[in-house]
């Protein structure tokens, strides 16, 4: 009987842990006042992928190689305050629980940016960027089955320009 209780408890805990993702954070914070929120769904990514040779003027980024592998984008921008602090704490918790790996950290004139990924050597299942500069906290979460080499070369190429 004890074993059964332990099994059920573990099952419930694992389901609760699954709920800690970009979507749950988006759902929690997107309805607050003074929060800018952007969500792009898997259906929209599929639609974008079907439009041939989509290119936009402005940013010098070629998303072609990875656009079909993306399945969700969550962006939250919150002006500094209690809610922004809560978001940063929640993100740090979900980074820890989700076993994300720190990709890089940059500090520039009071702005701290951290990037994390989770996946394996060949695929990135989720990319998270958290930055705060004293005035605003920004959270970006990109989900998908993104080939790691393509993601890295895309970022590296764009960084060169």
């Amino acid at each position: 009987m004890k074993k059964l209780y332990i099994l059920v408890a573990m099952l419930l805990l694992s389901i609760t842990a699954l709920a800690q993702d970009g979507r749950s954070l988006y759902n929690k914070y997107s309805d607050y006042d003074d929060v800018e929120a952007v969500y792009i769904s898997p259906a929209m990514f599929r639609l974008i992928g079907k439009i041939p040779d989509m290119e936009m003027d402005g940013e010098n980024v070629n998303l072609g190689p990875i656009i079909k592998s993306l399945s969700g984008l969550y962006i939250l921008s919150i002006k500094q305050g209690a809610i922004a602090d809560d978001l940063a704490a929640d993100v740090n918790r979900f980074i820890k629980k989700g076993q994300y790996e720190l990709l890089m950290e940059a500090k520039d004139s009071g702005e701290v940016t951290r990037m994390y990924t989770v996946g394996d050597d060949s695929v990135v299942n989720s990319f998270v960027m958290l930055s705060h500069d004293g005035a605003e906290t920004n959270f970006i979460c990109l989900d998908g089955t993104i080939p790691r080499d393509k993601l890295e070369s895309l970022i590296a190429d764009a960084a060169k320009d």
């Binding site: 009987m1 099952l11 792009i40 974008i48 402005g58 980024v61 962006i75 990037m115 764009a158």
Partner: protein, 116 residues
């Protein structure tokens, strides 16, 4: 009558020989005793299993209803694409800043090693 310890010490050949020896009487109630000794599933097993299944379904249902899919911000795929581009430009900008700092550090290290 042999004890259990004695029986467990017997070899397979001995056990076979004894089982074939018809002179040894088989107790009448042996079959009933063996069946009674076979462990039956506990009474709580079925209700506990059902309770566990219900709890799991409830947890999954609650998780899904409390974490619904948000509404798309953009109806237009071109605007959505532009937003994704902006995100990657921001990520690349941060990476470029990091790469620049690393390059500067390397140059400083080169200069230091030159004056050594």
């Amino acid at each position: 009558m042999k004890s259990i310890d004695e029986i467990t010490r017997l070899s397979a050949e001995d056990l076979e020989r004894i089982s074939l020896d018809e002179s040894i009487p088989v107790p009448e109630e042996l079959s009933a005793r063996v069946q009674a000794a076979v462990r039956k599933p506990a009474r709580w097993a079925l209700p506990a299993g059902i309770a566990a299944a219900v709890a799991t379904l409830l947890a999954v249902g609650l998780t899904l209803t409390r974490n619904p899919e948000p509404v798309d911000t953009f109806d237009d795929p071109y605007l959505a694409y532009a937003e994704v581009e902006k995100v990657f430009a921001k990520i690349s900008g941060t990476v470029a800043y990091g790469a620049e700092k690393v390059s500067q550090s390397e140059q400083t290290l080169d200069k230091l090693s030159y004056w050594k």
